[in-house]
Assembly symmetry: C2
């Protein structure tokens, strides 16, 4: 795949990493960065992640062959629909949001038939923010979920898959609902749990934490407003996952209360088996 | 501080790291390794962590100025009491167990008055096991908790503090109950939570996890039988911490259910504030 013009809307950690990878892998002839944060755009230009920065989002998207929206989940649909006004049929629109059902539904409800939007979610990131932390290898070897709905044109789906694979990512296609059900368990619940664990630590015990506590709570350093928006957009699935988790805690409590060493061992073995399978 | 003979009972990750640090920092003239696992002892000898390996634990402890018991928490008290039979008043006995109340109580109930035992817990470790992962810097800059009871001789407490500080650790003195209350929250609950989170992940979703899930569940790879013993010895405090954590989950659920973005933001900000304060 080779793209003439790639537009990144929102050049932070993810958008900047996509831009850097597109240049490093010679996927795009020209990369435009656009968005609301001029300082970040200028930084992206300075480090060579983008070739041009523009404060006119619709115009910058209108010139693109592929435009990727990288911003908080509660802003994506509005931004896509606003920019789509300036698009011709040649432009493929996609995004990087951590939720999919709400975004895809809102976009599909408002998008002209001639314009293609395919929801995406690269499973890569960091608790860090900003183009200063962008990394051309952020997507390498990671999975990007690409969503398909009854309205998704097969050719647009295919181009979206090629786009992510050209950046070094593997891809998985699923519908937006399956994405959200999956991510509730693999990402949104872990974030909630890490945050809850960090949140109950009294200040005077901070210096008595070791690597275990730090690893387990690392992602709690993520931006609260970004995650609050993710949680709210994926509320029903996140509540389901939370219930599943609490049932597991109940089993631990029962095993502890009953001093049931067999049950405790079995629970801990289950967790170890899964964690060992994930690798380091 | 300078020790003539240091005996490590149980030369695995922690025991091996203490031995390596004692040699590197020239704290001990001679280091004896003893324990039940001959293969590990020979490995420790081969990598130069110990100068001699012995399968006769009591004899090896009897020759020591300082003996450190590094083994699963449910074995420490028995081993200390058995080895104490061969000790003179010169030998200071300490340990590295992740729980303290049960161990210290059992040891103090059975120990001759002439022999000093001071409970210790270096807040350092890994989900890895074995002397192959031992590291002379494992304790450097970490905190070691040293416990004091009404029976603890001030001179023995002082020697124990000097011992850990000579290995590069900082120290904090507290009673065994405060240790257990603290560790329930900073270590045992995070382990339970990480294990519960890993344990509910269906196999088919394993490849859809990213760094967030992996960080949050890393410690679930720890040895189930070691942790099961820790959980059981610290059962009342761990149940208390679990209840505190579940109350926090209740607050998240209420905020989610009510789509209360202010409450959700506030909860996430609390977690971020603590996690940011911990550093990387």
């Amino acid at each position: 795949m080779r793209i003439q013009t790639l537009t990144i809307v929102g050049v932070g950690l993810i958008g900047g990493s996509i831009a850097l990878a597109a240049k490093r892998r010679d996927l795009a002839g020209f990369v435009i960065g656009t968005g609301k944060n001029q300082a970040e755009l200028e930084r992206a230009l300075a480090i060579g992640a983008i070739d041009e920065c523009s404060m006119d989002c619709a115009e910058a998207v209108g010139r693109a062959d592929v435009a990727v929206f990288c911003m908080p989940v509660d802003q994506i649909a509005d931004q896509v629909l606003a920019a789509a006004q300036a698009c011709s049929a040649k432009t493929l629109l996609t995004d990087t949001g951590s939720t999919k059902s709400v975004i895809v539904k809102q976009v599909e409800a408002g998008l002209p038939d001639s314009i293609s939007f395919v929801g995406s979610h690269p499973l890569a990131g960091s608790e860090k923010r900003g183009v200063a932390f962008a990394d051309a290898d952020l997507l390498a070897g990671r999975v990007t979920i690409v969503t398909r709905t009854p309205r998704t044109a097969p050719s647009a789906l295919e181009r979206t898959i090629q786009f992510w694979e050209s950046l070094g990512s593997r891809t998985r296609v699923m519908d937006p609902e399956e994405h959200d059900r999956t991510l509730a368990l693999t990402s949104h619940l872990p974030h909630l749990v890490a945050s809850a664990l960090a949140g109950i630590l009294p200040r005077e015990l901070q210096e008595l934490t070791a690597t275990g506590f730090r690893d387990t709570t690392r992602i709690a350093a993520g931006d609260p407003s970004l995650w609050s928006a993710v949680f709210r957009q994926n509320q029903p699935e996140l509540l389901q996952s939370l219930q599943l988790f609490e049932r597991r805690l109940d089993k631990f409590r029962a095993a502890l209360t009953g001093d049931d060493s067999e049950a405790l061992d079995a629970l801990l073995k289950d967790g170890k088996e899964v964690r060992d399978a994930l690798g380091s």
